[in-house]
């Protein structure tokens, strides 16, 4: 029942938010805090009776059930969603938003979709939530985004829509290979996929992989991402980069790897090559960016590349590391965007060239920026390191012939990551005050709260990662 509530509460909160005009942000925050409480409860009770799977007959004709289940990975991602959404709602509280009811309601709708994606154990349900998470975000970006928002988010929408349709066809194919009873359930899909001959596995693999690769996104399917991140309101960018891209990885782990293991083994070298090439590629391009949001966007592509490579490396360690890193990356990139948001609000620009001297005017933000940046480039004793270390170890130990090359090239990402991140820090925080900015407002209480929460996660999980590792280990 908890599982249903995890989806239901954001939905109801969204409904309420939609009709509460001025109080929308507070209603939304309350709703999201309630969800956070639930998701914490779920994470603590993962693996016990309290989190028993939930199933309801839905469309027997096509074998679809309304079935939810949570293992450690799902509970972890729900927890992440639960944490990130309140943070998203905390920032920008002072900013006047056009039609706040709809804005916050859509955020909560996408939260419901995300929760659903992570909890669904039925293919059709999964697909439903997959789209449910996407569409509110599309509206958010297109309605409240930057200047070029309409074409950009449209590209994003159509691109991911193509991917999800490919996934749909694969899921239909798989469901038809079962005996028809609950044909869409995860177990049956997995069983059907495993039994497929090689040729069909290849097709299914390609179809599913396209969908997930676009969502993550990995090179070369990524071009929607920098544009979309740049043009979206930063709050939405957070949802996109911290949570939505995790859907892709999650889907790889849950709906791709177990389903077509043989094709997966066959393709792993290719995918790893792509992902790892993507790390270097995105890092190099990030170095060239003068727009702070694009820079962070490319850095996110680089990080996703590493995670994707780990997902396909086929070792247990890298999978665990991947899950850890999913959580940590969610926290870190959120932190990054929170800072970017503050910086953007204060400077009134996204252009790095026009920034500088933040450490003078608002040292608190600068310190937070430095901490989060270092978490982002995986400095030890921050959470980013734990994940990346496990990922690297996993990739290195993979059975691929080129595991050392993969690891070494991926390692270049560490160096390049340091280069572009520190350049950004330097341009934003250091140097003389920019002439255009004389009075930079300090952080307000809500922003403090958001930043402190994130930094606490960064440090605590960097020093004591074991609870997280234990959580994801629960089957």
């Amino acid at each position: 029942m908890i599982l249903v509530l995890l989806i239901l509460i954001p939905l109801l909160a969204a409904k309420l938010t939609f009709f509460s005009k001025e109080a929308a942000k507070n209603v939304a925050l309350l709703g999201s805090l309630l969800t956070l409480g639930l998701s914490v409860y779920a994470a603590l009770n993962c693996g016990t009776e309290n989190l028993a799977p939930f199933a309801l007959n839905w469309m027997p004709a096509i074998g679809a059930q309304f079935s939810l289940a949570a293992d450690g990975m799902a509970a972890m991602l729900c927890l992440l969603t639960g944490i990130i959404i309140p943070v998203v709602l905390l920032i920008n509280r002072n900013k006047a938003i056009d039609n706040p009811g709809a804005y916050y309601a859509l955020i909560l709708y996408s939260q419901a979709g995300l929760m659903g994606v992570f909890l669904a154990s039925d293919a059709l349900l999964f697909y439903f939530f997959w789209e449910l998470a996407l569409i509110p975000v599309y509206f958010l970006c297109s309605r409240w985004g930057g200047e070029r928002r309409i074409p950009v988010t449209f590209k994003f929408f159509v691109y991911t829509f193509v991917g999800s349709l490919m996934m749909l066809s694969a899921l239909i194919y798989l469901s038809l290979q079962t005996n028809g009873v609950n044909a869409m359930s995860l177990q049956n899909i997995v069983a059907a996929g495993k039994a497929l001959p090689m040729m069909q596995q290849h097709i299914i693999f390609v179809l599913l992989f396209l969908a997930f690769a676009i969502k993550m996104p990995i090179f070369p399917f990524h071009t929607w991402q920098p544009d979309a991140y740049e043009q979206s309101p930063t709050q939405v960018t957070i949802i996109l980069s911290a949570l939505m891209v995790k859907m892709g990885l999650y889907a790889v782990l849950r709906w791709l790897l177990p389903v077509v293991p043989e094709a997966m083994a066959y393709w792993s070298d290719t995918v790893m090559t792509l992902s790892i090439a993507g790390i270097v590629y995105a890092s190099l391009i990030a170095m060239m960016q003068t727009n702070i949001k694009r820079l962070v966007a490319y850095s996110s592509i680089a990080h996703m590349g590493l995670m994707c490579a780990a997902a396909f490396s086929g070792t247990e360690l890298s999978q665990q590391g991947l899950m850890v890193q999913m959580f940590n990356h969610g926290i870190n990139i959120t932190g990054m965007w929170v800072i970017v948001n503050m910086v953007e609000n204060r400077y009134g620009t996204q252009d790095l060239k026009k920034m500088g001297g933040l450490a003078n005017t608002a040292p608190g933000i600068a310190i937070a920026l430095v901490i989060i940046s270092f978490a982002n480039i995986a400095l030890p004793l921050t959470n980013g390191f734990i994940g990346e270390f496990m990922l690297f170890t996993g990739i290195f130990q993979s059975a691929s012939h080129y595991h050392m090359v993969f690891m070494a090239v991926a390692g270049l990402g560490i160096i390049l990551g340091a280069v572009y991140t520190l350049t950004m820090v330097q341009k934003v925080a250091y140097g003389e005050n920019n002439s255009g900015v004389l009075a930079v407002a300090k952080m307000n209480a809500a922003e403090w709260t958001a930043v402190i929460v994130l930094i606490v996660f960064i440090i605590v999980l960097g020093v004591f990662p074991q609870p997280l590792i234990d959580l994801i280990g629960i089957r």
Binding site: K155, T223, L284, F385, F392, L422, P465, Q466
Partner: protein, 628 residues
């Protein structure tokens, strides 16, 4: 006592937390006092630990908690206390304490002093983790932690863009090395399944036969790449001279005494592995020697007081790696220790000078400072003597041991190293003479301002001078005493490689040769600086002044091509290629729509016509292409 070793890093951490969290409200004096106090406590604890170890306490693992436990991967957060780490503890906390004390005065006027002490404490904490960790991962944590602090402290005066550039450069170059370290760790994990020193070294000693030599070589080289970054060896040394952008005590602590020697510590720690790879050792020896020569040659022609010291540090680090390359790990550690004392001394002395000069660092504007700054002059002189290798000062013993090891290894190494040592003597005394003797060459204002530093600054100078003078005796060579105290102390933790024994007569001969030549060099330096003229350099001198154009070379060969390549990727591949492709599909669809639309031209005749053609096509496909 040893079981309480975790307290040693805890106090600096505490200092960091208090100063770091209270950076807004902390009074300046309190911050410095607190930080120094924490260091003092740590130092006291370290002393306790050291003497316990010296008193024969066995190697101890101090476990704290399980850091990462996932599947087969188990990495505990634990400390290892043995001779090596206890020695380093002593150096770090001792020198660290002195420099903290020095800083309370030196940084007195800076607005960011609370932040400064927070960083400094954080640095000590990280450095302690580095040397105390019981496995490579903990070492790596410290390793990157000190890199972080180095970054923060180099860029301490963040308003200056050059300083922050230097900070960034330092961090990135360190990261390159760190990647090597990381790969090394991966290799260790892959082959041995553990990162813990005890388990790893036990495995290495047990089943030598299982692993091929190249495995060890790869691991060793990878670790050494890490050391190259951190300890500023060729080709990753260029960050260290730039790192002088930080406050001078920082240069003393981080970029001379402690952090840069982390590479030595790591290799000494991994001596078991290195002993399995001759190739790696040769490689290290060559790199070390080249670094020593190159840096020394650059130092000859530098005019910035801190730059001279920085290149000297690089050069001395080269010496240490040369020692390691010759299999003499303990000698390297010995030199680390002596170097920590005299180089910290020299840096702090230069800090004192800079303090007096009101921030001026160019020795061309100095001269004759000795008259106003007696203590500084005296201690600086001791430092110079020590580094130049005049007996019985500390540098003589450690350097001589290195030269001896090099000679035992190969006379070629020896002569090259000797050349570097002579250059050292030359540039150090050139610096000394230009700074402290002769006439003052700066402005009147500066001359008026000249004064001896306060006691908080001179006290550490004196202590360090004392140490620089006498610390060499812990490593009296065997020709002078029955046993080598330091070697024996370290022998439990560090296994030296094959040791070529030199005849005592040879050793005497070598010592004599080097001392004679060094003295000659000092005289030469005196002669050269008697009447300084600072004409623009030409020829080789110009090349040296411009640091062999290495930075320019890096820019031309690596940085700029990389930037151009990135720009190419960004502008052409990303925007035109991939994004253009994606958008191109959209454009194609729209273009197609525009064309297809024209088919619908409103003419019934045309519609019928197209339909008939369609029908014909359908018949052709349906009747002739489909085989039934």
């Amino acid at each position: 006592m040893i079981q309480l070793a975790y307290l040693i890093p805890l106090f600096p951490l505490l200092g960091f937390l208090v100063n770091g969290l209270g950076w807004k409200s902390m009074p300046k004096q309190a911050a410095g006092f607190l930080a120094s106090l924490m260091m003092l406590v740590s130092f006291a604890l370290s002393l306790g630990v050291f003497f316990e170890v010296k008193g024969g306490a066995p190697d101890t693992i101090v476990p704290l908690f399980n850091f990462i436990q996932a599947g087969k991967l188990l990495i505990p957060f634990a400390f290892k206390i043995d001779a090596l780490s206890s020695l380093f503890l002593l150096i770090i906390t001792g020198v660290g304490f002195l420099i903290h004390v020095y800083s309370t005065s030196y940084m007195h006027d800076d607005e960011g002093v609370v932040k400064y002490f927070a960083y400094l404490n954080l640095f000590v904490f990280s450095m302690l983790l580095l040397v105390m960790g019981a496995n490579y991962l903990i070492m790596f944590i410290g390793w990157e932690g000190v890199g972080l602090c180095s970054y923060l402290l180099i860029g301490f005066w963040f308003k200056n863009r050059d300083y922050t550039n230097a900070a960034k450069k330092a961090f990135v170059m360190n990261r390159i090395g760190d990647l090597g370290f990381l790969v090394g760790m991966m290799l260790v994990l892959y082959h041995f399944g553990t990162l813990s020193y005890n388990e790893l070294f036990a495995q290495v000693s047990d089943n030598q036969a299982v692993m091929s030599g190249s495995t060890y070589t790869w691991i060793a080289i990878c670790f050494f790449i890490g050391a190259m970054g951190k300890s500023a060896q060729l080709p990753l040394y260029t960050w260290l001279p730039d790192a002088m952008a930080g406050p001078t005590p920082v240069s003393a602590l981080i970029h001379a005494a402690t952090m840069v020697t982390a590479g030595i510590y790591m290799i000494a720690r991994s001596s078991v592995i290195y002993n399995h790879s001759e190739a790696a050792l040769h490689f290290i020896a060559i790199i070390g020697l080249l670094t020593a020569l190159l840096a020394a040659s650059i130092a000859i022609r530098q005019y910035d007081i801190k730059k001279v010291l920085a290149y000297s540090t690089v050069s001395q680090l080269g010496f240490m790696f040369l020692a390691i390359g010759c299999g003499a790990y303990t000698t390297a550690v010995f030199h680390v220790m002596t170097h920590a004392f005299f180089k910290a001394l020299l840096f702090l002395g230069s800090g004192s000078v800079i303090h007096a000069m009101g921030g001026e660092q160019d020795i061309r504007s100095m001269g004759g400072l000795g008259k106003k700054m007696r203590i500084t002059q005296a201690t600086f002189f001791i430092g110079c003597v020590a580094i130049a290798g005049i007996p019985p000062f500390a540098g003589f013993f450690s350097k001589d041991e290195i030269l001896a090891a090099a000679y035992a290894h190969s006379p070629v190494l020896y002569y090259a190293a000797l050349a570097a040592a002579l250059m050292t003597a030359f540039y150090m005394f050139r610096l000394y003479f230009l700074t402290f003797t002769g006439k003052f060459r700066g402005t009147h204002e500066q001359e008026h301002h000249l004064h001896e530093s306060p006691i908080a600054m001179t006290f550490p100078l004196m202590v360090l001078a004392l140490l620089a003078a006498i610390s060499g005796f812990v490593g009296l060579p065997e020709v002078f005493s029955e046993h080598h105290a330091l070697n024996e102390f370290l022998s439990v933790a560090v296994t030296n490689g094959v040791h070529h024994h030199l005849e005592h007569s040879t050793e005497y001969m070598l010592m004599g040769l080097s001392v004679t030549l060094v003295v000659a060099m000092i005289l030469f330096a005196y002669a050269k600086t008697k009447k300084p003229d600072f004409q623009p350099n030409t020829g080789l001198a110009k090349v040296l002044e411009n640091k062999w154009y290495v930075d320019e070379l890096y820019n031309a060969v690596i940085v700029n091509p990389l930037l151009q390549f990135s720009s190419f990727l960004d502008r052409i591949i990303e925007r035109k290629g991939i994004d253009g492709g994606v958008n191109g599909v959209g454009k194609l669809v729209r273009w197609g729509a525009d064309r297809m639309r024209l088919l619908q031209n409103g003419q019934v005749g045309a519609y019928l016509f197209t339909m008939v053609i369609g029908i014909v096509l359908i018949f052709v496909i349906g009747l002739f292409c489909v085989t039934i």
